[in-house]
Amino acid sequence: MNISRRTFLGATAGLAGGHLLGQEGQRPVFRVKVDMVVLSFTVTDSRNRYINGLKPGDFRILEDGILQRISTFAEGAKPPVALLEDGSTRPLVETAARDRTAPGNEAAPVPENNPDAFVGTNVFVLFDTSNFMYRGFVYAEDAIADFVRGLDRADSVAVYTFSRNLSRAAPLTRDRFQAISGLRKAVAGDDTALYNGLLLTLRDAAKVPGRKVVIVFSNGPDNASMVAPDDVRAVAEDEGIPIYVISTNEVNKDPVSSGVFRRIATGTGGKAYWAKTWQKQVEAFENIREDLGNSYTITYYPQPNPNEGFRRIGVEIASDVGKKFRVRARPGYRPRGGF
C-alpha cells in the first residue's frame, strides 16, 4: 500500500466448510462440501431478444450430465417460488414459513434461512477510481448514479471503488440515497489493482445469500494486482456470481485487457461492454439492467457426484421451440473444498 493521493496523476517529484475434527489426536478430515448452487441465466432467441415467462418445468439442469432437482425458481425481480416434491410451486416466503413451523422441520432447506434474500438481486458495483480514470471520472459517476437510480426496487446495491486498494464506499443497501452518496464521495487517484479489488468484492458478495452480480466499471489496464484474472474468474464461477464489465476503453486499444474482460464475463455468465463515451456507458448499464430484469434464477442442491474438480453445468429447455433459444449461463463450478 502506498501513499495514494500524491502518486496521483504523475505528480512525482522523484517520490517514488466445515471442519470435521476426528477423534482426539487425529487430523481433521478433508471432505468436499457442496453448498446450494445458485444459477442465474438468460434465455434469448435468435434475434437476441429475451424470452420471458418460462416455467420451472421448462428447464432441465444437468451437472456433468446428471439431472438436478430444482429447489427454487425466480424470474427477473419477481418473488421466487419453491418447487415441491409433486412439481407444484409455492411462493418461497410462505413455503419457508410453513416448513419451519412444521414439527421437526425447523431446519427446512430454505436458502440460507432467509427467503427474502432471493427477492431481487444484490448488485455490487466496482468503480475504478485509479489514475487511468481521471479524465472520465465524473461522467462515470453520473452513469453509475443513473444505473443505481434505475435498479428495481427489490434490488440491493453496494458501491465499491478501487485503485490500489479497495474502498467500500457504500455497503449493500436498498437505500439508493446511501448508495449514491457513497459513490459521490469517491476520490480519484493511484495505481490500478483491478483484479485484487474484484477478488475482494467477490468475497464480500459470496457472503450474501441470494442472487448477486458484480458490475465492474473500469478503464482496463491493471498495473498493481497480485492475483491473476483467471484465478479471480474461478472464484466467481465457483460462487455463481456473474461479472459484467464495462470498459471505458476501446476494444482494440488494449487487447490484453479486452481479452481478459471478455473471458471473465463469459466464464461467469456475465457480459463485457466497451463504452468509451458517456452515452455508451449509459447504454451498457441499460443493457445490464435489462439482463437482470430478464434473467432466471434457479437453485438446487447437487445430486451425488464423484467429481471434485470442475463440474460442468448445462441448462436445457425441454420444449422443441426452446431448442432454438440460446441460454447464457456460467459453464460450471468447482465444489468448495472443506475440512
Binding site: 512525482t12 440515497f177 469517491a186 471434485e308
Partner: protein, 1126 residues
C-alpha cells in the same frame, strides 16, 4: 536525579506499611495462574461484602489501577470517603494526590482540582495545578482557507484528522515533494497535476464563498431559484429533467465537476433537495489555521497584500523553509527567525528541513551531542562556538552543503557509550574529516530523500564495548585485508592505500565514515553492520577466518546471514552453510538446482522458526543445523535429494521432541502453529486450521502420503505387493494441480526470460505418471527403478516443505494463498536468467500484468515473511475513502505481527510490561503539578523524542494537560521511560516499584528486559539483520534514501507493547495474542489516515482507536455478561 520514590509512594501504592491481606494473596495467585479477570471479580466481591473495610477497598482500587481500569477512580473515591471518616490523614493525602493524577490522565480537570484541594486540606504540601490559561501557548495568527477543511484536505492530500496547527506544515511538505517537477524546456519548475488541482479547487472555492455571501452559508431555497443555477455552474453540473422528483444532476463541465467530486461537495444532498423541493443549506465557513510567527513574515515585501495561500503555494522554497521551521521547538525557531534574515534562511531551507529537527537552543546556547566535552570540537567544525547559539546554528546550516548538519543530526540521535565514543573531541573531528572529504557537493539534503542513510546506520548501530572501544568483527586485520585485496575490485583507491597502515579500530571506523559519502552501494558498511549484528547476539564472537569468509561471500550470500542470528551457531556450521550453498549454486541441472535449493531452504526455514521459538532447545540448535545442511554439499540426483529432505524432516522432528511414531505432517503443522506446553486450545486450534486451509488451497501433497509411498516403494522392492490404493491417493492429489496459467505474454517473456523453470516444475508434476512408473518397475521387479521413483517425488516434497514456510508467515486474510492455487509451486528459486537469485532475498515479481498467472515470489526464502506481507498489503481495505498509508510500513507491521509468537509469554510478564507503561503515565500526571518532577521527566524524554516533541510534552504538562501529554508519547517511549525511571530509583522500595520488583524477583526468567525484548520486540531484518524479535529503543528514523522507508518502519517498536498493555488491561490470556495481534494489526493498518511518510501521530491515533474499539467491545461484552448473571 531525584529519586522517583516520592512519586511512587503516592501514585502506585496506598497501603505503605500494611501487610497484604489473605484476599490479596489469593488474588495474586489467580493473577499468576492467568486468571486476572477472576482476581478482579474476587477483589470486587471482597470490597462489596465489606464496604467499610479500607483495606479491602484499597486492594480492589489498587488492582484496578495496576490494570489501567477506568473504574479505579471510582474505587479510590470510595476509599477517600472512608479515610475522610476515619481521620487517617496520611493515607487520605496519598489517595487524594493519586486521584488527582488519575483525573488528569482521564482529562477530568474539575475532578483533579477537587481532589487536589482535598489533598491540601488533609495536610498535603502546597502543590497546585496551573491556572487553565496561564500556560497556554501565545495565540497564533490565523490564515484563511476558503471552504471547509475537509474539502481542502481532500484536494491537498492531507489527512482530515490533521490538527489545525499541522495543516500548513503538511501542505508545505506536499508542495515540496509533489508540487513541482522539472520543466522539459528550461531550468524552471512546472506545477504538477496535483498542485494545479489544488489551485483550481481554491478558485472554485472562492467562487462558492462569494455565492455564500457574508454569512458564508450556501443557501438554495428552491430548485428554480437563480442561485441554484449559479451554484450548478460553479460546480460544473446541470439539471436533467425538470425540477421535482425527476431531476438528476449531470456533468456539464468536466473540469469543474471533477473538483466538485474530488473535494467531496455534498452533490447528492443538493440533488435530493432539488428532487424533494426542499431548501439546500451548506456551511461554507472558511477554515482558519494557525500560521507560524505571522503571515507577514512569510510574504515578500511586494506581496504583503496578497493572499497568503496563493503566495505559499507558488513558492516551493518558502514551503521548504516553513517545513524546516515546523520541526524546531518554538524557542529555537523564534531565535532563528529573529536573527537570520529569511532570504538567507531560504538558501538553507533543505538542510533545515532534513537535519534541523535535532537542533536545540537553550538559553541562547546550542545543545550539542557530547555535551560540554565536545563543545570545543564542535566549535572547530562549525567555525564558532556552540555557546554563540544562533550563530553556531546558522553555521551548521550553511557549512559544507549540509554535511556538517547531517553529522550533527546523526550524532544527536545516539546515546550511551556510542555517543561518548563518537563525540570524543579528536574522533569527532577525525571522523567528520573522513566523511566530508574534499568535495562536499552534492550535499545530503539535495535529493528528495536524505542521502545520509549510511551515516545514520553507522552512528546508531555501531557497537561500543564497556571499554569504550568499538567492536570490529574479526579484528582490524580482516578489514585491512578486505580493503586491500577486495575480491570484486577496490572499494576506494585512497582507502586501499591507507589500509596498509591500519592498526586500531578507529582506523576501520574512520574508513567506514569515509565510505558514507559514496553514492553507490556501500558494501563494506553493510558487511560491517551485518557481522557486528551477528557478533552482538553470540556468546563468542565470530572467528577471524569466519569473518573473512563471510565478508568475501557477502555479495552472493549476504542475504542469508540473518539465518545465523536465529540461534547461536558455531563457526563451523556457518562455514558449512556457505559451502553447501555454494555447492548448490554449482549444480548444472537447473531443475535439480531449484529443487535442491528449495528443499534445503525450506528445511532451514523450518529450523529457523523452531530455533527462534525455542521449540528446538538452544543447546541443540547448532548441531541440528549442521546435520540439516550437510547433505547438500554434493547433491547429484533427485533420489538423493528426496532422501536428504526426508532425513531433514526426521531430524527436525527428533530435535523438537516429537514421538518417533508421530505422523510428520500432523506434527509439523502442530509445531508451526506453536509449541504449546499448556495448550490454549482455541488459539492453537485456530492456527492449525489456518495452516491446513492454506495447504489445502495450494493442493499440497501431505508429507505423510509422500513418506508412506517412499516406504512402500522400498517394501515393494523387497518383494511386498504393491498397494494400489496408496498410489491412487497420491496420484489423485497430484492430479488436482492445475495447469499453470500463462505466466507471461510473449513480450514479457522476451523481456524478462524468467518463470520458465517454475512452469516446467509445475508441468513436470502434472505430467508425472506415478502409477505407470511404479507399475512398470514393480512388474519387472526392478529394485533400482523402484527406488529411483523416490526421485520423482523430490519436486513434490519441495513444494510441501516450501508450503509450510508460506503458511507459517501467511498474513491475515492470505488472499493470494487462498486464490492462486499455484502460488507456492510458482516460487522461483532461480530467477531471471543470468541473475542467479537462488540466494538473494525474496522478491515480488509479476504484479499488474493482466496476461500473467499472478504475482509470484522469486529468490531464496530468506525474506519470505516480508515478501508475503508486501504481496498481501494491498488487500487491506482502508476505512477512509482517502487513506494515505505507507508503502514499507505496512509489510513491516504485518511481519511484526506474524513472526513473534506469544505462546511462552506468561501473564506476569505481560503485566510487568504494562506496569512500566502505566508507571510512566502516573509519573507524567504527577509532573503536571510538580515542577521539579516535570523537569526530570522531560529530561529523560529528550533521550527518546525530538526536541520539538519534548518541548510540546513539557508545555502540555505545564498546562496540566497530562492526558494530551501522554498522547504525544509513543508506547515504546512509555515503556523505555518506565524502565529508566525504575532503574534510577534509589529510594526505599515503595509499593508500585515493589510490584515491579516483586514480579522480577518471583519470576526472574520472565520479568526481565531481555525476555521482554524477545517477547514484545519487533524483527528488524534491515536495521539489525535479524528476524529475532527485539527492542532496541531507538529514536524513530526518518525516511532514508536507498532503503526506502524500511529502516524507518523497523524503528517503530510500539505496536506489540501497546497490544501487551491492552491485553493486560482486558485480562486477555497471552496465548490469545497469537490470534488477536494479527487481527488488531490488520485493523490498525486499515484505520491509518496519514498525511505523509513520517506521520507517526497518524499511526499512533490509529493504534489508540483500535485499542478503544477493543476496550469498548470488551466492556459491552462485560456488561452483557453482568446483566445475564443478574
Amino acid at each position: 536525579m531525584k529519586a522517583f520514590s516520592a512519586v511512587l509512594a503516592l501514585t502506585c501504592g496506598l497501603l505503605p506499611g500494611l501487610q497484604a491481606s489473605p484476599n490479596l494473596d489469593r488474588a495474586r495467585q489467580m493473577e499468576q495462574s492467568g486468571d486476572s479477570s477472576g482476581a478482579r471479580t474476587f477483589l470486587a466481591r471482597a470490597a462489596q461484602s465489606s464496604p467499610e473495610d479500607v483495606t479491602a477497598l484499597t486492594e480492589y482500587a489498587e488492582f484496578l489501577d495496576r490494570y489501567g481500569d477506568p473504574e479505579a477512580r471510582d474505587a479510590y473515591a470510595k476509599v477517600l470517603n472512608l479515610l475522610r471518616k476515619s481521620g487517617d490523614q496520611k493515607r487520605r493525602v496519598a489517595v487524594a494526590r493519586h486521584l488527582t493524577a488519575l483525573d488528569l490522565l482521564a482529562g477530568d480537570r474539575a475532578a483533579a482540582e477537587r481532589h487536589l484541594e482535598e489533598y491540601r486540606a488533609a495536610g498535603g504540601k502546597q502543590l497546585a495545578l496551573p491556572p487553565v490559561a496561564a500556560g497556554d501557548s501565545p495565540a497564533r495568527e490565523l490564515v484563511s482557507i476558503p471552504g471547509p477543511l475537509r474539502s481542502f484536505a481532500r484536494m491537498a492530500a492531507i489527512s482530515s484528522e490533521t490538527a489545525p496547527e499541522d495543516v500548513l506544515p503538511a501542505l508545505a511538505r506536499n508542495v515540496v515533494t509533489n508540487g513541482y517537477q522539472a520543466s522539459n524546456s528550461n531550468d524552471a519548475l512546472d506545477q504538477t497535476e496535483y498542485l494545479k488541482l489544488v489551485h483550481r479547487y481554491l478558485s472554485q472555492a472562492r467562487e462558492m464563498e462569494k455565492l455564500a455571501g457574508p454569512g458564508k452559508v450556501i443557501e438554495i431555497e428552491s430548485c428554480e431559484s437563480p442561485k441554484a443555477g449559479e451554484l450548478l455552474r460553479i460546480l460544473g453540473y446541470r439539471m436533467r429533467g425538470g425540477c421535482g422528483s425527476e431531476v438528476v444532476l449531470e456533468t456539464v463541465n468536466a473540469t469543474r465537476a471533477f473538483l466538485t467530486a474530488d473535494s467531496g461537495f455534498p452533490l447528492h444532498d443538493l440533488e435530493q433537495a432539488m428532487r424533494t423541493n426542499r431548501p439546500f443549506r451548506h456551511d461554507f465557513q472558511p477554515t482558519r489555521v494557525p500560521v507560524m510567527f505571522t503571515a507577514a513574515y512569510w510574504l515578500p515585501v511586494k506581496e504583503k497584500e496578497s493572499d497568503f495561500l496563493d503566495v505559499f503555494l507558488s513558492d516551493p522554497a518558502l514551503c521548504r523553509l516553513y517545513l524546516g521551521f515546523s520541526k524546531l521547538d518554538p524557542e529555537t525557531a523564534e531565535a532563528l527567525r529573529k536573527h537570520v534574515p529569511m532570504q538567507r534562511l531560504k538558501a538553507y531551507a533543505h538542510v533545515l528541513d532534513f537535519f534541523g529537527g535535532m537542533f536545540e537552543l537553550r538559553n541562547g546556547k546550542m545543545v550539542v551531542p557530547g555535551g560540554q566535552k565536545a563543545v570545543a570540537a564542535w566549535a572547530e567544525l562549525a567555525g564558532t562556538s556552540p555557546d554563540n547559539g544562533i550563530v553556531f546554528l546558522e553555521k551548521m546550516l550553511a557549512r559544507d552543503d549540509g554535511w556538517t548538519a547531517s553529522y550533527f543530526d546523526a550524532l544527536a540521535r545516539t546515546r550511551g557509550p556510542v555517543l561518548d565514543y563518537l563525540t570524543e573531541p579528536a574522533r569527532l573531528k577525525r571522523f567528520y574529516g573522513a566523511m566530508r572529504g574534499k568535495v562536499t557537493s552534492p550535499g545530503p539534503a539535495r535529493p528528495v530523500f536524505r542521502s545520509n542513510a549510511d551515516l545514520m546506520l553507522l552512528t546508531t548501530r555501531l557497537q561500543v564495548g564497556p571499554d569504550g572501544r568499538p567492536h570490529i568483527p574479526g579484528g582490524v586485520d580482516v578489514w585491512k585485508n578486505l580493503f586491500i585485496n577486495h575480491p570484486h575490485g577496490k572499494y576506494d583507491g585512497k582507502l586501499t592505500r591507507a589500509a596498509a597502515a591500519w592498526k586500531e579500530p578507529d582506523d576501520v571506523v574512520e574508513a567506514l565514515f569515509a565510505l558514507c559519502r559514496k553514492a553507490v552501494e556501500n558494501e563494506p558498511l553493510k558487511i560491517f553492520m551485518t557481522l557486528s549484528d551477528l557478533d552482538r547476539n553470540r556468546a563468542k564472537p565470530l572467528e577471524t577466518a569466519t569473518v573473512d569468509r563471510l565478508a568475501r561471500a557477502y555479495k552472493q550470500m549476504g542475504q542469508q546471514y540473518a539465518i545465523f542470528n536465529d540461534a547461536d551457531l558455531s563457526d563451523s556450521s556457518i562455514v558449512q552453510f556457505l559451502d553447501s550453498a555454494e555447492a548448490v549454486s554449482k549444480i548444472r541441472d537447473q531443475m535439480l538446482r531449484a529443487n535442491t535449493a528449495g528443499i534445503m531452504q525450506a528445511l532451514v526455514g523450518l529450523w529457523r522458526v523452531f530455533a527462534r521459538e525455542g521449540t528446538i532447545p538452544p543447546d541443540k540448535a547448532d548441531a541440528v543445523f549442521a546435520k540439516l545442511i550437510a547433505p547438500y554439499g554434493g547433491m547429484r540426483e533427485n533420489r538423493d535429494l528426496f532422501d536428504a529432505g526426508r532425513n531433514g524432516v526426521r531430524l527436525l522432528l527428533e530435535a523438537t521432541g516429537s514421538k518417533p511414531d508421530a505422523a510428520p505432517q500432523d506434527r509439523l503443522v502442530d509445531l508451526l502453529a506453536g509449541n504449546v506446553s499448556q495448550p490454549d486450545e482455541d488459539a492453537h486450534t485456530l492456527m492449525v486450521q489456518d495452516t491446513l486451509r492454506i495447504l489445502e488451497a495450494q493442493r499440497i501433497v501431505s508429507l505423510n502420503a509422500l513418506f508412506e509411498l517412499a516406504d512402500h516403494l522400498d517394501a515393494v522392492a523387497g518383494g511386498q505387493k504393491l498397494s494400489p490404493s496408496l498410489v491412487n491417493r497420491l496420484t489423485a492429489r497430484i492430479s488436482e494441480i492445475q495447469l499453470p496459467r500463462n505466466a507471461l505474454s510473449g513480450a514479457e517473456r522476451n523481456a524478462l526470460a524468467f518463470g520458465y523453470w517454475t512452469e516446467r516444475h509445475i508441468e513436470g508434476q502434472r505430467k508425472m505418471n506415478l502409477r505407470v512408473a511404479i507399475e512398470r518397475a514393480s512388474t519387472g521387479a526392478d529394485k533400482e527403478k523402484l527406488r529411483e521413483i523416490r526421485g520423482m517425488l523430490a519436486p513434490v516434497l519441495r513444494d510441501t516443505l516450501v508450503a509450510y514456510n508460506y503458511a507459517h508467515y501467511a498474513p491475515p486474510g492470505a488472499q493470494i494463498l487462498f486464490t492462486n492455487p499455484l502460488f507456492v509451486r510458482s516460487h522461483d528459486f532461480l530467477g531471471i536468467q543470468g541473475a542467479n537469485q537462488t540466494w538473494r532475498t525474496t522478491e515480488l515479481f509479476g504484479t499488474g500484468w493482466p496476461s500473467n498467472g499472478g504475482g509470484r515470489l522469486v529468490g531464496s526464502l530468506a525474506g519470505l515473511p516480508y515478501a508475503l506481507a508486501e504481496a498481501e498489503q494491498n488487500f487491506l481495505v482502508p476505512g477512509q475513502t482517502q487513506a494515505l498509508i505507507w508503502g514499507d510500513l505496512v509489510p513491516q507491521m504485518i511481519l511484526s505481527a506474524k513472526i513473534p509468537r506469544w505462546w511462552k509469554v506468561t501473564p506476569s510478564q505481560m503485566h510487568w510490561v504494562a506496569l512500566h507503561m502505566r508507571y510512566t503515565q502516573a509519573v507524567l500526571a504527577e509532573a503536571a503539578f510538580d515542577p521539579e518532577l516535570r523537569r526530570q521527566v522531560t529530561a529523560l524524554l529528550s533521550g527518546q523524542a525530538s526536541p520539538a516533541r519534548t518541548f510540546l510534552v513539557a508545555a502540555l504538562l505545564e498546562r496540566g494537560e497530562a492526558k494530551q501529554a501522554v498522547e504525544n508519547i509513543t508506547p515504546s517511549e512509555l515503556f523505555m521511560l518506565g524502565r529508566e525511571m525504575a532503574a534510577n530509583e534509589k529510594g526505599e522500595p515503595v509499593p508500585c516499584l515493589a510490584e515491579l520488583r516483586r514480579l522480577a524477583a518471583e519470576v526472574p526468567r520472565e520479568a526481565n528486559y531481555r525476555a521482554v525484548s524477545r517477547a514484545f520486540g519487533t524483527p528488524k531484518p534491515t536495521l539489525a539483520n535479524s528476524y529475532q524479535p527485539e527492542l532496541l529503543g531507538l529514536r524513530t528514523f526518518p525516511t532514508l534514501m536507498g532503503y526506502s522507508s524500511r529502516i524507518m518502519a523497523e524503528s517503530w517498536e510500539s505496536n506489540a507493547l501497546y497490544w501487551a498493555e491492552l491485553a493486560d488491561a482486558l485480562h486477555v490470556r497471552p496465548a490469545q495474542l497469537n490470534v488477536r495481534i494479527p487481527e488488531w494489526t490488520r485493523k490498525l493498518v486499515e484505520q491509518i489516515f496519514a498525511s505523509h511518510l513520517e506521520d507517526w501521530p497518524a499511526l499512533l491515533r490509529s493504534l489508540r482507536n483500535v485499542g478503544e474499539d477493543v476496550r469498548s467491545s470488551s466492556r459491552s461484552r462485560g456488561s452483557e455478561q453482568k446483566a445475564s448473571l443478574q
